[in-house]
């Protein structure tokens, strides 16, 4: 049986929460995954799935402390503690992929979570209430780039009655902001270590930062390759690598996966293969719908457009200094291009447009994401001034109840025509 089909059938059904907690499930899935390795055109994707399965197993079978993290919290600290990071927003995306999101969203709405908020957090809330997710031992979350996540984490902490640690990341502030964030990170790391009874040694932390740096190096090489050659990764697959960015920075496996990804792409480039027939090169902003949809397939195969670059995969941070772990993690958090005044994001996007020879930019306008969507107008104006066509594609990454594929495809078609007419 196909790996994905089995996951959907067994974990997506009513027995899902029991299946997720059974060691047998993971043995079967692991065997299936091993058997299906040859079906993966990108071995890095296979490795990432194997890693994700192992992390899920560790989390549900409670082999190690489970720490829930919001997606922008620096996970290097969690890996240094040998804990299992679990991002509920990633869980929401997986739930959407398994066809469970509607059930969880409905449950969250009964709990007074309104549709005016982000569906990643609503879906995660619903799955908490349905007790689908692995219970946390502690929670860590940060304020930057998202107003919903901090509040979701406060709900979850109250639900599970577990300790919660908050990282306040300002959008501006220079060196004072670095000190402020670094101090909080050090305090959180110390308190987590104490709470979990796991020593956080200097060596472990340094190793996690070195892993993070090595992964970063491979990301840079991957991006360089994608810039320089005509090899393109199917955008939907490239976007899936955000799983590593959101939960696995600092893990040794992340280095291996990115190394493999680089080798996969090198191989494709060497053979002159193209994962997607390249005609127009797009820059993709924000994320994508995670429920079943034909958006990317249509874009890449029918319209002949390639996602040459994704904003989410951009390496915006400097290498970390293992000798000054908290300061460099603070600098990394603060250097996110979407933090603070919108000019930072615009400057980054214009740079990506130049580097990747972009023909057009698509922003997937996820309903409920105030942070990303609020910058649409100035981004559109800046791109227009640079002569780059821009499309804001309204939709929702997790809530597929109002998904109107025909309309989205028609807009994409029109957009590609506009690029061609240039």
């Amino acid at each position: 049986m196909d790996f994905y089909r089995l996951v959907k059938e067994k974990m997506g059904g009513d027995l899902g929460r029991h299946v997720l907690r059974s060691p047998l499930s993971y043995n079967i899935l692991k065997a299936l995954l091993v058997k299906s390795r040859h079906q993966y055109s990108l071995q890095a994707v296979w490795m990432m799935n194997r890693y994700a399965l192992e992390q899920t197993r560790r989390a549900y079978l409670r082999r190690d402390p489970v720490i829930w993290n919001s997606v922008f919290f620096p996970t290097e600290i969690l890996h240094a503690l040998k804990a299992v990071p679990f991002a509920p927003e990633v869980g929401a995306a997986v739930a959407a992929g398994l066809g469970l999101a509607t059930k969880f969203l409905g449950r969250a709405e009964q709990y007074w979570s309104t549709r005016d908020t982000c569906s990643f957090h609503r879906c995660a809330m619903g799955s908490v209430l349905e007790e689908y997710l692995p219970a946390p031992d502690a929670l860590v979350y940060s304020s930057h780039l998202c107003d919903g996540a901090p509040k979701l984490f406060e709900h979850v902490a109250a639900f599970y009655k577990k300790p919660v640690f908050f990282l306040d990341v300002p959008g501006t502030g220079g060196d004072a902001a670095v000190d402020y964030v670094a101090g909080q990170l050090e305090e959180i790391a110390g308190r987590l270590s104490h709470r979990l009874g796991r020593p956080l040694t200097r060596d472990n932390l340094a190793r996690a930062l070195e892993n993070s740096n090595q992964a970063r190096e491979y990301m840079l090489k991957i991006n360089e390759l994608r810039r320089a050659t005509f090899v393109n990764v199917p955008g939907s697959q490239a976007l899936n690598f955000v799983y590593l960015l959101f939960t696995a920075q600092g893990a040794p496996e992340t280095v291996q996966i990115y190394r493999q990804f680089y080798r996969d792409l090198e191989g494709l480039a060497g053979r002159g293969d193209r994962a997607v027939p390249e005609r127009r090169r797009l820059l993709w902003l924000h994320l994508k719908p995670y429920y079943r949809n034909g958006l990317m397939e249509y874009l890449e195969n029918r319209l002949g457009a390639a996602l040459a670059c994704e904003e989410m995969n951009h390496v915006y941070w400097e290498p970390l200094d293992p000798e000054r772990p908290y300061e460099s993690l603070a600098r990394k958090a603060l250097s996110h291009f979407a933090l603070g005044p919108v000019e930072r994001r615009i400057e980054t996007l214009l740079q990506l447009v130049r580097l990747y020879r972009i023909d057009g930019v698509v922003h997937f306008t996820h309903w409920g994401c105030r942070q990303s969507n609020g910058g649409l107008r100035p981004i559109k104006e800046a791109l227009r001034s640079a002569g780059v066509p821009f499309l804001s594609l309204d939709g929702d990454c997790v809530d597929g109840r109002n998904y109107g594929e025909g309309q989205l495809l028609a807009r994409l078609e029109g957009f590609i025509e506009m690029i061609d007419a240039k």
Binding site: S113, D116, T117, E154, T172, A177, Y180, V342, Q371, R377
Partner: protein, 340 residues
């Protein structure tokens, strides 16, 4: 008198000068604007239909952000020479972005607002306040002394003391002030220079106390809580026969509570650090980390103090922090407060 003052504030009270500076969030210490010899003016969306801001911001932004931007774009703040926009949330950051890009004149400053109250956060915030002060000095050509800051702090503290006294009167069995009147007074306090307002506030309170005319003693007493409250909501509740006895909101109680003079250290040391400490330590708005834990207990206390028969939670549509807070608060309220 309340109505007259409110009208003044709306219609050109500030028009004759070029020193009025708008501010957007109850975590922005308006004392700093006042210390620079400027007139701090609280920006609160007035409920007018948004017609222009939609071109600058997405439709799913809250009415406070779109309303303020719309008013700015439509020229409904002709007296403003600048604004200080607090980074209260992501929508507010984009208000700052949009204001700079769409309303291209005047002083525009984005102020970072920590979301936690710790010694480190206060220190960081006080540094940010120092940057704001410097920016005001440079833009308006002023030099602000420590005495200027302490004077502004003292005047604002007096306004807040008077408002607290006024709100105490509402705890009585037969309150002397209605919700609509109280909201208008808080609005005045946040828009009119304190040295001019304070004597008026004293007179208003004296008159109310002398007249002893009840605002509606036998009506159901309602506590309204949330982020920014539209005065129309309070008016509606009172038109329907209720009496709003307390507004726990950024433009109500949270504007003036929790920043009392604590005695020995208030008028010494670093005034900016004192301001940072006072503002971050006040009863939290839902934007603050783990605010619901504090607010649950605080609301139960308020409901008892103000003898509330019921609580109305108001959230602006698309206000993430308020919308997420409600389920947490709802769970804790229904038990101790008997009548809802």
């Amino acid at each position: 008198m309340v109505e007259a003052q409110e009208t003044n504030a709306k219609e050109g009270y500030f028009a004759s000068d070029n020193f009025t500076v708008g501010w957007t969030c109850s975590y922005i210490p308006e004392e700093i604007i006042a210390a620079a010899g400027l007139k701090p003016y609280r920006l609160v969306a007035d409920g007018t239909k948004v017609t222009r801001a939609d071109a600058c911001l997405p439709g799913n932004f809250c009415a406070q952000v779109t309303g303020c931007l719309d008013a700015g774009l439509a020229g409904r703040y002709p007296y403003l020479s600048g604004v200080v926009i607090g980074f209260s949330c992501n929508a507010a950051v984009h208000l700052y972005n949009a204001w700079r890009r769409c309303i291209t004149h005047g002083f525009v400053y984005g102020l970072e607002l920590p979301r936690r109250d710790t010694p480190e956060a206060r220190k960081f915030f006080s540094k940010n306040l120092g940057h704001l002060l410097l920016a005001l000095e440079q833009h308006y050509g002023r030099r602000v002394s420590q005495e200027d800051l302490w004077r502004a702090i003292a005047e604002t503290a007096e306004t807040r003391r008077l408002l607290r006294h006024l709100y105490h009167l509402r705890r009585e069995a037969r309150p002397l002030v209605s919700g609509s009147e109280a909201m208008a007074l808080v609005r005045m306090a946040a828009t009119i220079p304190k040295n001019e307002l304070n004597p008026d506030l004293v007179r208003i309170i004296d008159n109310l106390t002398a007249k002893k005319e009840t605002a509606g003693g036998s009506r159901p007493r309602i506590l309204v809580t949330g982020g920014i409250l539209p005065p129309a909501l309070v008016e509606l509740i009172e038109e329907c026969g209720g009496l709003v006895v307390c507004e726990d909101a950024c433009n109500g109680l949270r504007y003036f509570t929790g920043m009392e003079n604590t005695g020995d250290t208030w008028e010494s040391g670093d005034p900016l650090l004192k301001l940072a400490t006072a503002y971050l330590g006040k009863p939290p708005c839902p934007r603050m980390s783990r605010a619901a834990e504090t607010r649950s207990a605080e609301l139960i206390k308020l409901a008892r103090e103000y003898r509330a028969d019921g609580v109305v939670y108001y959230s602006l549509k698309f206000c993430d922090v308020n919308l997420y807070e409600f389920p947490l608060l709802k769970k804790t309220w229904v038990k101790p407060v008997s009548r809802f």
